[in-house]
């Protein structure tokens, strides 16, 4: 049992004052502004929004500044802020088919209708440090091309027409929400997807990688990866109709996976799905692989005992705020706790030694 301590107020205040000073660093170097973080560390901002589970680039940038770049601390700040917001409602499910794509690639169809666009990607860079960035450099203008904006239907829909892909079951329009009621197992796919999209990128990546290395291997191909802006629509009760209440950048990954068929399903392709706030493709691909691995039961596959198939293991350990909260609390004063442990060990030793002496 944890017994609270008191005292140390002065030291705590002073520690926080020093933290503020260290946060600022050398004052002869210009201070970072929140818009600078938002614009120039956009992928960090995206990660904080995704795992903080709140889309607001300015707040995420502020949290990164306040946390000195510790992204899990920043996510913690966003989660805490989020709980103070009154909930106006839930949006209509976003229509990602209408996404205005900055990036859209397919690893399965080279002639994807609507075309493949690479967008602003790190792919095909040589991963060499660019020392020009260390100096104040002019930014080269990105080349442009004129084009009629083509429709970009989901590539998966072409497989769907041939019945080669498993169809996605319908569900309730108001999905369960793990921010409102505790996660209970077995979880529906809706709950799993919510837990995965806000889960720790490193953890989800590791789980996804384990499936690729053979722990519940499911042979994923990226049928489509798209990044772009999507309008968010919500029914407004006082109006009696729906309006767009904003626009979010999302990354969506659909995987197509081999499936030999099972007792209940014919041979067909199956699917994994990733959808994440911001430009977050490593996370979205990882999410799709883990989503697919967790679907073994509904697809009638064998549970091979792989970690990525174990929803209790995955869902209860994916949240980095829960994890860090429990992990880091052990550094806080546990004096009473430890005192009782100390006494127990002393008593056991006394008894053990007493028995030894008696035996001799």
């Amino acid at each position: 049992m944890y017994v609270a301590v008191k005292g140390g107020e002065k030291a705590i205040d002073n520690a926080h004052a020093w933290l503020a000073e260290e946060r600022r660093g050398d004052t002869s170097i210009a201070e970072l502004s929140v818009p600078q973080i938002r614009e120039q560390l956009a992928l960090a901002v995206n990660r904080v929004m995704a795992e903080g589970s709140l889309y607001d680039p300015d707040l995420a940038a502020l949290a990164i500044k306040q946390s000195r770049g510790d992204l899990i601390e920043a996510i913690f700040l966003i989660r805490a802020y989020r709980t103070t917001l009154p909930r106006f409602g839930g949006s209509c499910p976003v229509d990602t088919e209408q996404m205005i794509c900055d990036r859209r690639v397919s690893a399965t169809f080279k002639d994807a209708p609507g075309g493949q666009v690479l967008g602003p990607t790190f792919d095909y860079t040589h991963r060499l440090l660019d020392f020009k960035l260390a100096a104040d450099g002019e930014v080269p203008q990105a080349p442009t091309a004129t084009t009629a904006q083509p429709d970009t239907p989901h590539i998966m829909s072409f497989l769907d027409r041939e019945n080669l892909i498993q169809t996605e079951p319908e569900g309730p329009e108001t999905p369960p929400d793990l921010t409102r009621s505790p996660l209970e197992l077995p979880a529906t796919r809706a709950l799993r997807l919510q837990a995965l999209t806000r889960g720790d990128e490193g953890f989800i990546l590791g789980m996804a990688y384990s499936t690729q290395r053979g722990y519940a291997r499911n042979h994923a191909f990226v049928a489509e990866l798209r990044i772009g802006a999507v309008s968010v629509e919500m029914d407004i009760p006082e109006l009696g109709f729906a309006i767009d209440i904003g626009e979010v950048t999302l990354t969506e990954c659909e995987t197509v996976n081999q499936f030999q068929g099972s007792k209940t399903e014919p041979p067909q392709f199956t699917r994994g799905y990733g959808l994440v706030f911001g430009m977050t493709e490593r996370k979205a691909i990882s999410m799709a692989l883990v989503d697919r691995a967790l679907r073994w039961k509904e697809l009638g596959e064998d549970n091979v005992g792989a970690p990525a198939q174990d929803e209790e293991f995955v869902l209860y350990h994916a949240d980095n705020i829960q994890a860090t909260g429990f992990l880091e609390h052990i550094k806080l004063p546990h004096y009473v706790d430890f005192q009782s442990e100390l006494e127990l060990i002393r008593r056991l030793r006394r008894e053990a030694m007493g028995e030894q002496e008696a035996a001799e």
């Binding site: 889309y55 106006f88 209509c92 976003v94 666009v117 690479l118 990105a142 084009t147 968010v232 109709f241």
Partner: protein, 151 residues
């Protein structure tokens, strides 16, 4: 497209545009039209969250993706016309102006407000979309499958 016969289509369009507008730009455009309608708040600007939803596999059952910040406001003009606003982010001034614009767009001032606020916002939005689309188009890629030597 499906809103061809929707009587609310026009209002839905301007409210959606206002929701996605840049706060600084909206405040600036509003400052230039010099209409200062008398109004009362039905709901003073209020910051909150909306749970954004997606669909499993883009087509299946709905799931909760995460929240976004939204500011809402409702106003009533002296004439009794009511304006509502839901705008993305946490800018109360943007929400107040958006609600006033929504109200005025239902009055005889509509043409003035359309020209001074809605049209410029539409143009800004379109040109930013065109500029991004042009950059995306320049990265359009055609992959060729190479013949493999060993087969």
């Amino acid at each position: 497209m499906e809103e061809m016969n929707d009587p609310n289509a026009a209002r839905k369009a301007w409210m959606s545009l206002l929701a996605k507008s840049d706060a600084v730009t909206l405040v600036q455009l509003w400052g230039e039209i010099r209409i200062a309608p008398e109004f009362s708040y039905l709901r003073a600007p209020e910051i909150g969250g909306v749970m954004v939803r997606g669909r499993a596999g883009a087509v299946g059952s709905a799931f909760n993706l995460g929240e976004m910040t939204v500011t809402r406001c409702s106003v009533k003009l002296i004439s009794g016309v009511v304006g509502h606003a839901y705008v993305q982010g946490r800018d109360k001034e943007q929400a107040r102006i958006a609600a006033l614009v929504d109200a005025l767009m239902q009055t005889k001032e509509a043409a003035v407000v359309q020209a001074a606020v809605i049209d410029p916002l539409t143009d800004i939005r379109r040109s930013s979309q065109v500029s991004r689309a042009a950059k995306a188009a320049a990265t359009k890629v055609d992959f060729f499958t190479m013949v493999r030597g060993e087969d």
